[in-house]
Symmetry: C2
Subunit: 330 residues, 2 copies
């Protein structure tokens, strides 16, 4: 009998990550390609199909057979039907039967889940959340995703198509405009996009007075890693951008901890690479905004699976649904 | 065999309500006495013991025997040990073994629970929450209490001694000072105390220009029902106080709904009697601060048990723990 495998996909606002994953969570092969807010439905689908076909070809080399595909997508998804309802970072996919379309082309069952929920499933399966009963998950990327793991399981709420959308908690009413259209969301403070907008606003105010951050901005090369590097070397605007991020994250976590009566959070996503620049202001803000919680008991840690968390979670879902061997709930 | 009964108590910041309750939730006798932030431990205990003794006497008339006492208390409680850890409205009770002390005096087992959690258990047992799987509970009184009912059960989180403390979510960073010491909590906008503070600040600014609200304030007779009556007859300051309350409640619910992926809330507590003055601004705020949620799906309703919700919930807990007849989880 051939070795059962799945393809896990993390389709974010900037990249699509694809991996061939076995039943124990080993990644046998991985790939990364560009995605983007300007991509149309066809372009995204074509690219993703090509990525999956490469994985299907590779499976043979490992004497494996792919039994299904798990796909984590940023935004609101209808996971029962496999539709993307609304994705702020993939606007062309609005109300699109992405799962069924991929199934038709690839001839394999496809399971869709919100990417931050996939992150939560991944970290609970073989990551930092393995031994934590209740925790809040945050993914910092182009946007800010979130999930709740309650009683060791992904919390699905009333199955409304959205859940754990911590990025769209309003932390500062009347604050910066979010991609979703509301003002003051966590995402508008703590995402990669928010970092860039903060620097951009400073530049337009004339507050960038030379230096490497100004250079990046002036050359149109500003990105989150660039802001991070400038923060590390002490640029005050870059440092303020990360301080605001930490402040907003600390406030959101303080609010969630007091309501949920819990004290664990796991933070992942590409922009969490800036950890050393925002964790201190995060801790300060969490302490300042907490009263019931004994702040020393709070545990805010980094994802241990890094960029692989969401695709491993998506793979785990596909294994649970399509494997012939029964698996256990994560 | 005598009919098993319990005593349910709701010990709030202003009143202590006591009731004799049978296994099906019938209230056979009820009483209400004053409590207060200035009461010492002895005074509160003496008064509560007297209330319970009256109930014990009454039980005989119904051919009943009291098997235990359930006590809902505002604040942080250690329900395993029966201690009050910290109660903003009963500061003298800090780290006080209230349950064991009452047990000693009354010779009956006593169970302590946070009063808003007791509210949630009551409404789930025989109230508005009976057929709702997941909901957010809010109690508007001297303070603002909260609870989460998830999967039909009271959510206890990590058993940290606080949970569902929605009143201490910060909805407006840097906003009005809360009793807890933080700035901008929901409680500092949506409690009875917040209504009075709003009017008081307006008076000190000289914004109360005659009329019944000014009279109340001037005579030192300002209370939440008074602010309500003035709002009903169109006093602009009283209306603004309730508008701010509705705004803050709508924002807090929008944040909770998007994170929990649910769409039901039940609001109780004495100050929820001002419903017609805050529900419209609440609905507007919920709509303005929601994006993922289809706002028409949101259901925000009033407690159906009114002032009895918390004492019935406390009674239910006592029945579950001390009755000789097995009962079913609520």
């Amino acid at each position: 009998m051939s070795r059962e495998m799945v393809i896990g996909v993390d389709l974010g606002g900037t990249h699509m990550r694809t991996a061939l994953v076995d039943r124990t969570g080993n990644i046998l092969r991985r790939q990364k390609a560009a995605s983007g807010i300007s991509f149309g439905v066809e372009q995204t689908t074509r690219r993703l199909v090509a990525e999956c076909q490469t994985m299907l070809g590779a499976a043979g080399k490992f004497a494996g057979s792919v039994v299904g595909i798990g796909l984590g997508v940023a935004g609101k998804v209808d996971h029962r039907r496999g539709w993307v309802v609304f994705s702020p970072n993939l606007p062309a996919m609005k109300n699109y039967p992405f799962g069924p379309e991929l199934e038709k082309t690839l001839g394999l069952p496809v399971l869709l889940e919100n990417d931050a929920n996939a992150f939560g499933i991944g970290e609970t399966w073989i990551g930092a959340g393995r031994s934590i009963h209740n925790w809040v998950g945050l993914t910092l990327g182009t946007g800010v995703g979130g999930c709740l793991i309650l009683g060791g399981k992904l919390w699905n709420g009333d199955d409304l198509g959205f859940v754990g959308e911590i990025g769209h908690m309003i932390v500062s009413p009347g604050g910066p405009r979010c991609t979703c259209g509301l003002d003051g969301c966590l995402e508008a403070h703590a995402s990669g996009k928010a970092l860039l907008e903060f620097v951009n606003a400073a530049a337009l105010r004339g507050d960038l007075s030379g230096g490497p951050l100004f250079e990046l901005w002036n050359e149109g090369k500003l990105n989150a890693p660039g802001v991070y590097r400038c923060s590390v070397v002490g640029d005050p605007i870059a440092k303020s951008a990360f301080a605001r991020m930490g402040w907003a994250l600390g406030l959101a976590l303080a609010n969630l901890f007091v309501v949920l009566g819990i004290h664990n959070a796991i933070i992942g996503g590409g922009v969490s690479a800036g950890w050393d620049q925002f964790i201190e202001p995060l801790g300060r803000s969490l302490a300042e905004h907490s009263k019931m919680l004994v702040v020393e008991d709070a545990v805010v840690q980094r994802s241990s699976l890094g960029d692989d968390a969401a695709l491993l979670g998506a793979a785990r879902l596909a294994l649970q649904h399509y494997s012939s061997v029964p698996s256990y709930a994560c």
